[in-house]
Amino acid sequence: MSKPIEKVMSAPEAVEKFVNDGDHLIIGNYTVGTCMELVFEIIRQGKKGFTLYSQSGILDVELLVAAGAVERLVATYVLRSGGRNGGSAVERALQDGSLQIEDYTNYNYNARLMAGMHGFSFMQVFEGIMVTDLFKKRSFMGEDKYRVIKCPYTGKDVVTVPAANPDVCIVHVQRADKFGNAQYWGAIGSVPAAALASKRIIITCEEIVDTEIIRSSPHHTIIPAFRADAVIEVPWGAHPTEVVGHYNQDKLMWGLFIMAAAGGKRLQAWMDEWVFNCQDRQAYIDHYVERFGSGRLQKLVAKPLYSAPANYGSAFHSTWDANGKDRGTGLTMEEIENLLEERGLLHD
């Protein structure tokens, strides 16, 4: 008897196995619950040459760009730290020519993933974009950033964006089972689309739970097991960003990071301390507690606020009633078999 495939492994193992130099890499999370441990591990392993997709790339993009891992960036929103006199790793990399960027709007970016997720070659976007520099100024995608076609039904010009099917998605969720059924709730953003558009999916979660829990709340599942490649249980895996139901954004760490991002050397020092000198998330959290105390961490822990359970019940569980009669025919199994024999419908 075959069994479902278990995909539980460590973050180093998953990154080693499923992330390659030169990949199109997508950050699955949008603004919240960022897959920080996977970002850290990719940097620790020195993977590079990525075309990076991030819808709202603050920590994730800044760190990967500062690590020199990104050649091309597809984004809608990047960090600017410290106003006019500040800066960012993205700004510095654009200025020194080591990074190319393709700017989209939130909707345009998401539309590329929607097309990719559903297997279409393009998606229609809103025509107003044609008057803007997002449409007119193109970087490494050139003509293929947007193309205009005639709608066969209305005859109007329709702006399209090409499908995106990144090689690998890294994503953090609240819970998953060991087979890769991943459940996420809160700000949906583009999270399911980013994961499902991708060829490979690496999932970190706050907790690995029994499949029974997944099956009793399937509306929370954004990635079905058959699409998942790796599952890693990483408590605090998104810190200093927040995970609904687990912990809030850590404004202290966030603030330290944002201040560091304004200058190249400061950001490098931040990365030395928190990425390179911490071999995994446990070491990172231990170091945090050592620096700032466990009280600060505990203050971030979420108080529970449960959604009302949804009733998935039905009138009966099988086709047979309490007396062993089929509900539709009113016959027992024996009577059905006799009837089939009588009518000459059974074969040896």
Partner: protein, 275 residues
């Protein structure tokens, strides 16, 4: 005699007053989130507050950190995705949205992407995010500016206002008729757009600010409304709401950061003493 107020408070309150009861409202990052909470608490209890991360009809309990901050909400009525939040806007269901301004030209076109050569920028700003799509298809758009600038020519065209002015936006056929920026609110005044030329016009000026103060920031001869009014000062109820709900917003970014850090350092020093 009403309470004294800060310019940040005045700005937030002016924004909040643009939200009407029963409006479908898209709130962006920063001060609009506080303005939305204020409107819902004081004058527009049935406003439907939404964010582009897909939260619809949320009840804010604390000021959201960003546009995907469900932890700042006491529940919300519908969790949809970003794609749907935008297609709802495209179909005309959004009454009002708010955008921050990096650079703005005479006709309300915006740059929030870059200063200098786009490919090798002097300053790389955050980018479009949802801005270009929202200002394209929301029925009304309120612009807010803190630290941005008026320019003759944008260095990058991120979000469409009235294009070259006049009826160019409506004529283009790319946008819903009559859409476009409705007002620009700054710490000095409230601007509207001329109904015919679509040029920006100073409509209301905050107390203790002179027209000269406003003109100073504008590199062309600013049109002044014939009915130029003084902005109605905030009420005590409005001021108290902001100070209670979002004290950091009342203080403004610089002071809030200063005070926040001082508090943090105090806390860390106290910890070292204990050890």
């Amino acid at each position: 005699m009403t309470k004294k107020y800060t310019l940040d408070e005045l700005l937030i309150i002016a924004v909040a007053r643009e939200i009407h009861d029963y409006d479908n409202v898209i709130l962006g990052i920063g001060l609009p989130t506080t303005a939305g909470a204020l409107a819902k608490a004081l004058h527009a209890p049935q406003a439907n507050l939404m964010m582009e991360a897909g939260m619809i009809d949320f009840e804010p309990v604390i000021p959201p950190n960003h546009i995907a901050d469900v932890m700042a909400c006491k529940g919300y009525a519908c969790a949809t995705d970003l794609f749907t939040a935008f297609t709802m806007t495209y179909r005309g269901f959004v009454d009002i949205c708010f955008l921050g301004v990096g650079q703005i030209d005479k006709f309300g076109n915006l740059n929030t992407t870059s200063i200098g050569d786009y490919y090798k920028p002097d300053l790389r700003l955050p980018g479009s995010g949802g801005a270009a799509d929202f200002i394209s298809y929301s029925k009304r758009t309120i612009l807010t500016m803190r630290g941005g600038e008026f320019v003759e020519e944008l260095e990058y065209f991120t979000s469409p206002g009235y294009l070259g002015g006049g009826n160019e936006r409506d004529r283009s056929g790319l946008f819903p008729q009559g859409s476009g920026p409705t007002k620009l609110i700054t710490q000095k005044g409230i601007f509207e757009f001329d109904p015919v030329t679509k040029e920006i016009v100073l409509a209301s000026i905050h107390p203790r600010i002179s027209v000269k103060d406003v003109q100073k920031d504008v590199p062309w001869e600013l049109k002044i409304s014939e009915t130029l009014a003084e902005t109605k000062p905030p009420s005590d109820a409005e001021i108290n709401f902001i100070r209670d709900f979002a004290p950091a917003a009342a203080m403004g970014r610089a002071l809030a950061t200063e005070v926040g850090f001082a508090n943090l350092i105090k806390e860390l020093e106290a910890r070292e003493k204990i050890q």
